[in-house]
């Protein structure tokens, strides 16, 4: 033990440990930084996103939930709040309007903010909680419809309440079109006195909960089994379709980045540990001649390993903590929200990751030291065994798999990446060997430095191939991450284009269509084509009444139900962002009764092409055949429909129309005269929601970019470690050349060429590997549309050659300036 520690200290003093320690510290540091920063960003994102449902979790029910069940949240230290929503007519002195009333308690909202103004469409200010008992807030558009103003009173059921403020924004308003009626908010304690809620009334009770994620999960597990049948418990990802998808993808990307970070760190450690072990083979042989037994060697290097591991993980974790704090500080002005304080969990995660990385990547090469043959001290040529062995690869593979699984909590992603990685290693390794061998014809044509470089590569065929593989893998991971990131960002950018409609007009009467269009044209507002819209529900499927179908189609709880009343439309053109998955879209002149069904709706209700559906619309039955199944981009904030009829089908029905348009903030004043002129029309403002989504997407983008930078740093570390690992052999060769009279210029040029050739080959392999990996990832994991990237094939080799020769020349510069004797002594 004492001897081992002494050897550790002496090795450190002698500079033998510098590279290994640096690789370890950077590996642990990077992983800790990534985990910590991502954790903080995720916390922030989740909090910001939670504002979409005004809570972390929501229980939504059509009947009140038992207080005892709700009180269980208190045991878990959660905060709670409750809202009750219903539709009701609201009356001013002159007019009446159907409004979506929401009654809230003093705790509402748990997440996000209410924004109110003094005047309709005025400048907003945040409010800490909802209206006081005995007053209401109303949405801007209700004022022109009711022809009233703030300070006046409205009747809600049996109660007359003064309008205290104008509601501009509520966090959980959402973008759904089921709640198109304008909003009135009142206090929960006033609801009974309105006498609106009677047995049989359609009321939605929402119970909001917030707290620390771990407690929420525990509470969720405890309460879920006891919830009544028709209730829904959801978090932000299920509750807010507009951002849920973006959040999930971002999370998967950060996870993927973290995984790649771990792998890169592992490779760097493995390379550095291999070099350390290689350089210590002779040391061990000497120790053995002096009487050290294999067990003693194990013991010595185990202590060195533990000492090294402890030092590296502690320093690395500390460094990670500092770096992420620095990064968070630098990014503070760019971040739209404050980052919550880091928790200890990621630090522990970083420490554990470091230790597991060490165990699986650094320990195996060190343990093979026990096999160093003592006869090496006399006959070095007899034993040139490399410290790598099957055991080492097995250990490394197992460790990598374990870490990936633990990190991602996703066996499918892990297996996909792991097998992909294995195949890549084998195929790319063979290709690398082929490339090295095929260089011969090329090499003979060129000048002297070039010949020297190629000869060098070919003499060390296996080592060169391994190096190309290591460089290639590192570059491949970096390119993969870069490509996936680019696809994700462009998808998010396209999700809501800058001029996407941010207002929707509904309940447009057929006879008002022309007038409204003229009004908006006059105000220089571009309007999209109108859709007819009517409410209706499915009553029969293939002749069987829906009520008799088992469990309403057998879908998941929360999935769209077959029997619910829905907004229906009819159109000849397939809406943008919809894609036909099976069947065919209506011909423009179709006179047949056809219906196109959204894919999720079809799946959860077991609908197939050719099924006959009977609808009940305005008390009349309408039959239609399912002729196509569509995918719908629910997060594009455009009017989206589960069910679309062929163009002629709704002509006989008294449907209203809807349309959408884009308003600049300074065009908002057009709304007041518009609503006054057409009081039956409903305008839904989603500009605030779009802004909210953009903020979140900006944050997610930042997180993704940051991850990329960190991984690039890890990648550079791998490249450096693998160049260092090959340095001894190269230096020996060049010292001999220098001794024989080769000019320093020749040596440098040849070395640069050697690195450039290695890099170019590695870049080529990286391009191939990245293209295939990105194809798999985008299709299987990220649900993105894959498109090939031809420029990658040019960029890969150029990037590889440039990067490797620059890092290589930097790493060897110092050595090349020394005298041959000094270099040889350093290598001894």
């Amino acid at each position: 033990m004492k001897l081992a520690l002494k050897l550790l200290v002496r090795d450190w003093r002698g500079g033998e440990l510098t590279l290994l320690l640096a690789a370890l510290i950077i590996a642990v540091g990077t992983v800790t930084t990534i985990t910590l920063f991502v954790d903080r960003l995720q916390q922030a994102l989740l909090m910001e996103s939670a504002s979409f449902i005004a809570a972390d979790r929501v229980i939504s029910a059509s009947r009140p939930i038992e207080p005892a069940l709700l009180a269980r949240a208190d045991e878990y230290g959660l905060q709670r709040s409750a809202t009750v929503s219903f539709l009701s007519m609201v009356f001013s002195d002159e007019r009446a309007q159907l409004a979506a009333v929401k009654a809230v308690d003093d705790g509402y909202p748990l997440r996000g903010k209410l924004i109110v103004a003094d005047e309709p469409f005025g400048t907003g200010r945040p409010a800490q909680k909802g209206p006081q008992p005995g007053s209401v807030w109303m949405e801007s558009r209700l004022f022109p419809s009711l022809d009233t103003r703030p300070g006046a009173s409205v009747d809600v059921g049996a109660l007359t309440l003064p309008i205290a403020d104008v509601l501009l924004k509520e966090p959980d308003r959402g973008g759904g079109f089921d709640t198109v009626a304008p909003r009135v908010i009142m206090h929960l304690s006033d609801v009974d006195r309105t006498e609106i809620i009677q047995p049989g009334s359609r009321v939605t009770y929402r119970y909001l909960f917030s707290g620390e994620e771990g407690r929420l999960k525990a509470w969720e597990a405890s309460v879920r089994p006891d919830l009544p049948e028709d209730t829904r418990l959801y978090g932000v990802k299920e509750g807010a379709e507009e951002i849920g998808e973006a959040l999930s993808k971002a999370e998967r990307f950060l996870l993927l980045g973290g995984l790649l970070g771990v792998i890169l760190a592992g490779v760097a450690i493995a390379l550095a540990a291999n070099r350390y072990a290689y350089r210590h083979f002779d040391h061990v042989a000497i120790l053995k001649t002096l009487g050290a037994t294999p067990a003693r060697i194990d013991q010595i290097y185990l202590v060195i390993f533990i000492g090294l591991g402890l030092a590296a993980t502690l320093i690395g974790a500390g460094l990670g903590l500092l770096v992420q704090a620095g990064v968070a500080e630098v990014l503070r002005p760019l971040l739209p929200v404050a980052l919550p304080a880091p928790t200890m969990k990621p630090v522990l995660l970083g420490l554990t990751t470091g230790m597991v990385c060490l165990l699986s990547f650094a320990l195996p090469p060190l343990l093979t030291l026990r096999n160093a043959d003592p006869v090496r001290v006399i006959r070095r040529d007899l034993d040139t065994a490399s410290p790598s062995s099957l055991l080492a690869y097995g250990f490394g593979g197992l460790g990598t798999f374990g870490l990936m699984w633990w990190y991602s909590q996703d066996l499918r992603l892990t297996i996909l990446l792991f097998i992909g990685g294995l195949v890549a290693v084998v195929v790319l390794g063979l290709l690398a060997l082929l490339l090295v061998r095929s260089g011969r014809q090329v090499g003979l044509q060129a000048g002297s430095a070039w010949r020297l470089a190629v000869a060098g590569l070919q003499r060390r065929q296996l080592e060169s191939a391994l190096q190309i593989l290591a460089f290639g893998l590192a570059l491949m991971l970096l390119l993969t991450l870069f490509l996936v990131r680019t696809s994700l960002l462009s998808e998010w950018r396209n999700q809501i284009p800058a001029d996407a409609p941010n207002h929707f007009a509904m309940n447009i009467l057929p006879e008002e269509r022309g007038e409204i269009r003229a009004f908006l044209d006059g105000a220089k507002v571009t309007v999209t084509p109108e859709y007819p819209m009517i409410r209706g529900r499915i009553t029969e499927l293939n002749g069987v009444p829906v009520a008799e179908l088992k469990r309403d189609g057998g879908g998941d709880r929360g999935a769209p139900r077959l029997s619910s009343t829905r907004n229906l439309t009819a159109t000849a053109t397939l809406p943008e962002d919809n894609k036909i998955l099976s069947g065919t879209w209506f011909s423009p002149t179709s006179l047949v009764s056809e219906v196109s069904v959204e894919a999720e709706f079809a799946k959860s209700n077991g609908l197939m092409l050719g099924d006959m559906l009977v609808f009940e619309i305005e008390g009349r039955a309408l039959a239609a055949e399912v002729t196509s199944v569509r995918s719908v981009a629910w997060d594009n904030l455009q009017p989206n429909f589960y069910l679309i009829f062929s163009p002629q089908m709704l002509i006989d029905f008294p449907s209203t129309f809807m349309t959408s348009f884009f308003l600049d903030p300074d065009q908002k004043s057009v709304l007041s005269p518009l609503l006054r002129a057409f009081p039956t029309m409903t305008v839904l403002e989603v500009d605030a929601l779009i802004e909210q989504i953009r903020t979140i997407v900006a944050q997610v983008t930042l997180a993704v970019e940051f991850m990329l930078v960190l991984i690039l740093m890890s990648g550079a570390m791998v490249l450096l470690a693998s160049i260092q690992a090959s340095l001894d052999e190269r230096m020996k060769q060049f010292v001999i050349l220098r001794t024989l009279g080769a000019s320093n210029q020749l040596v440098r040029t040849s070395l640069a060429m050697e690195f450039a050739v290695l890099g170019a080959f590695a870049g080529l392999l990286a391009a191939l590997g990245a293209e295939l990996t990105v194809y798999g990832l985008e299709r299987e994991i990220f649900d993105l549309d894959y498109s090939p990237t031809p420029w990658l094939w040019a960029l890969g080799p150029i990037l590889g050659a440039g990067l490797i020769s620059v890092i290589g020349m930097l790493a060897t510069r110092r050595v090349l300036d020394q005298s041959p004797v000094a270099v040889l002594r350093g290598l001894a």
Binding site: K2, L3, K6, R10, D11, R13, G14, G15, E16, D282, H283, I286, L287, K288, T289, L290, G291, A292, T293, P294, A295, R296, D373, P374, V375, V377, I378, R379, R825, G826, A828
Partner: protein
Amino acid sequence: MIKTNNVSKVVETSEGRLVILEGITLEINQGESVAVVGASGSGKTTLLSLLAGLDSPSDGKIVLGGEQDITVMNEAQRAKLRGEMVGFVFQTFQLLSSLSALENVMLPGELRGDPQAEHNAKKLLDRVGLGHRLQHYPRQLSGGEQQRVAIARAFASNPKILFADEPTGNLDAKTGAKIIDLLFELNADFGTTLVLVTHDARLAARCERSILIDAGLLVSEAVDVSAAIA
């Protein structure tokens, strides 16, 4: 002290079986100094590595210290035996580059857990004339100095047998002569059995007896060493 019986060493190469040593039977007595001589590639270095237990023979028996048959031992047992009985001096010195002169000489004692390791090492380095360069690293020492450190380290374990493989091979004649003087001086003081592989006729002549190896065979006790290795 050393006794071998019909020892041979055969290795498989890509061109078939290669016999390096065959039927070596010899005996070296305690305190004796013996030179192993022969042409390059004759197998003398292989013989040294077998006698010292650094390598295992393909056949035959090697007994050290009268009773220890090292051919039936595993690597751990042989390592233990080396630590207790054997010292080495190599042509390429084989010092640990990351350790200072003092630390290199302390190593055998430290491996045994000897609390006197440092004290003894200092004494030995003094004895070889390097008392003033204790903290120097191998790369800061000349070839002759490095070999003196190696000799001090060889005697640090108080060995019964000292194996030396071309100890002057990497040194100029003058330095080599000094090193040999030192080696024999210490050998006499410690009463060690010395087995020395060499090309150098003068060096071989300083040993009490010489063994000639030719093409893997023990030819005879060499009478005229210069002729044998010419």
